[in-house]
């Protein structure tokens, strides 16, 4: 019988570990994508931010999913710089605030948190869908997640749908003309390149799916205690 992932603090800690590892692994590619249409620093900046966020959560472990996301968001704002620091940071803070201080989020509450994150990015950055920004990955992800839940799918399948939509959204930025951020200075020449922000956004959503797959439930055999960070246990179950 498939177990249902529990969206507790340990789940989000696991997401953070996966996100920090993924951002580090993909750092060179994100910077490479940022070179022709930006300023060649997106991977470096994201890596610095998620490394700092991992450390912040280790030093003062938050006691709720909402608290964890607020801590991660605050740390990104204080350490990333550029546009991605305030955008991702505010998105995660808003998502955290939407979850409040409950010890566990329900699947619909996670959907509300995703929607709050997307709304924060759109409000702060002013980007519309199709402007070749992280919104082009985040908005389809949020909609796919909510749609999957409405179709009666479980949280793992809904996160899988979200990750797929985010990836497709990021890839669909290739033919777009950039209208926000530094790529917009290039005009027509921004066409033909995948947006680095949409790409990192798809990676972060993909880590939510991976966290759900790797961690079947708080009562399962590999449940991470608050002092057991890292991607050790889940690997064994694959």
């Amino acid at each position: 019988m498939p177990t249902v992932p529990v969206l507790d603090t340990a789940f989000f800690r696991h997401w953070l570990e996966l996100a920090a590892d993924t951002v580090r692994r993909e750092s060179a590619r994100l910077t490479e994508l940022d070179s022709p249409i930006g300023d060649a620093d997106h991977g470096t900046n994201m890596d610095r931010g998620f490394t700092a966020a991992r450390l912040a959560v280790l030093q003062d472990p938050p006691q709720s999913p909402g608290g964890l996301l607020v801590t991660v968001g605050r740390t990104l704002i204080s350490s990333v710089g550029g546009a991605s620091g305030p955008l991702y940071g505010t998105a995660l803070r808003r998502a955290g605030r939407a979850l409040g201080d409950a010890p566990e989020a329900t699947p619909p509450e996670l959907g509300e948190a995703l929607a709050a994150a997307v709304a924060a990015v759109r409000e702060l950055g002013g980007a519309e869908p199709g402007d070749k920004t992280m919104v082009d990955a985040l908005l389809p992800a949020s909609q796919a997640y909510t749609g999957a839940l409405a179709d009666g799918l479980g949280v793992a399948a809904a996160l899988d749908a979200a990750a797929g939509a985010a990836l497709a959204g990021a890839e669909a930025t290739v033919p777009l003309l950039a209208r926000k951020g530094r790529a917009s200075y290039l005009g027509e020449r921004s066409i033909g390149h995948q947006d680095p922000g949409a790409t990192s956004a798809a990676l972060l959503v993909g880590c939510l799916r991976d966290a759900a797959e790797a961690r079947p439930g708080a009562d399962g055999p590999g449940a991470d205690g608050p002092d057991a960070p890292g991607a050790d246990g889940p690997e064994e179950r694959r």
């Binding site: 060649a40 610095r48 204080s78 620091g85 530094r182 200075y185 005009g187």
Partner: protein, 330 residues
Amino acid sequence: MKKLINAPDQVVPDALRGLAAAHPELAVDVAARTVVRRDAPVAGKVGLVSGGGTGHEPLHAGFVGPGMLDAACPGEVFTSPVPDQMAAATRAVDGGAGVLHIVKNYTGDVLNFRMAAELCEDEGVEVRQVVVDDDVAVTDSLYTAGRRGTGATVFVEKLAGAAADTGAPLAEVAAVARRVDACSRSFGVALTACTTPAKGTPTFDLPADELELGIGIHGEPGRERRPMMSAREIAEAVLDAVLADLPPGGPVLALVNGMGATPLLELYVLYGEVDRILRERGVEVARCLVGNYVTSLDMAGCSVTLCRADDALLRLWDAPVRTPALRWGC
């Protein structure tokens, strides 16, 4: 690419330690990433804070001192500083008359400074933000992030700094800064791309026999490539772009700025052409600067900035200034 560094991720702290050693008149906090004039806050004077990614030296830290900025916040290379830095700098220079944030128009800089201003206003410090957006290479429309802030930043920081020194209130200093931005236009040209320490390879490929028109100061490519041109032709192309958009008026301040890897010898070749063309077109140059002021690491190339300056602005320009990179009258 060879770089005179110890490690790519230590460039900014290492450079700040060097700045501190070379300029004891500046209080450099390497950990907090702030550069503040040592006698700050100056009681009753509006404080001026600017900042941005590093890689544009001497901007901004080189313009900290009496008559110009009270503090600068250096970010990572080509990356906006973070709100904590800006808030720390703002607190350090608030002499009771409020603080002006001078922000180059890039999404990251604007967002981070906006967050810092909110933090400081919560603590009771009055903050105004002035956004510099002088680069005519970018189409200013609803469909872009707007014009970039480039060479005019030097004019804004100098003239607003002089206005603050007269004891003018925050609203008036902010108005001077906005006026300077509104009557300044810039355009840049790259002969080579630049190489960030972290990436280690050029940010874009520019063939040896081509140049790029309309580049920014972050190694981001421009809008158009052409076969390599002479200094005379480059001056014509740049001034065509700048003058087409410059508001009408009297004499100008002129900045012929090097992007980092172009020798001063060549900048003077260019300035000679600029001066000749402006005379031919009936534009009087009241004051000029020739040199490396707003650079883009090791990019070869130049930018030209013109600012219409009336007598009031010229008086502010001539007022004493004492910073590492700009000093006269004192």
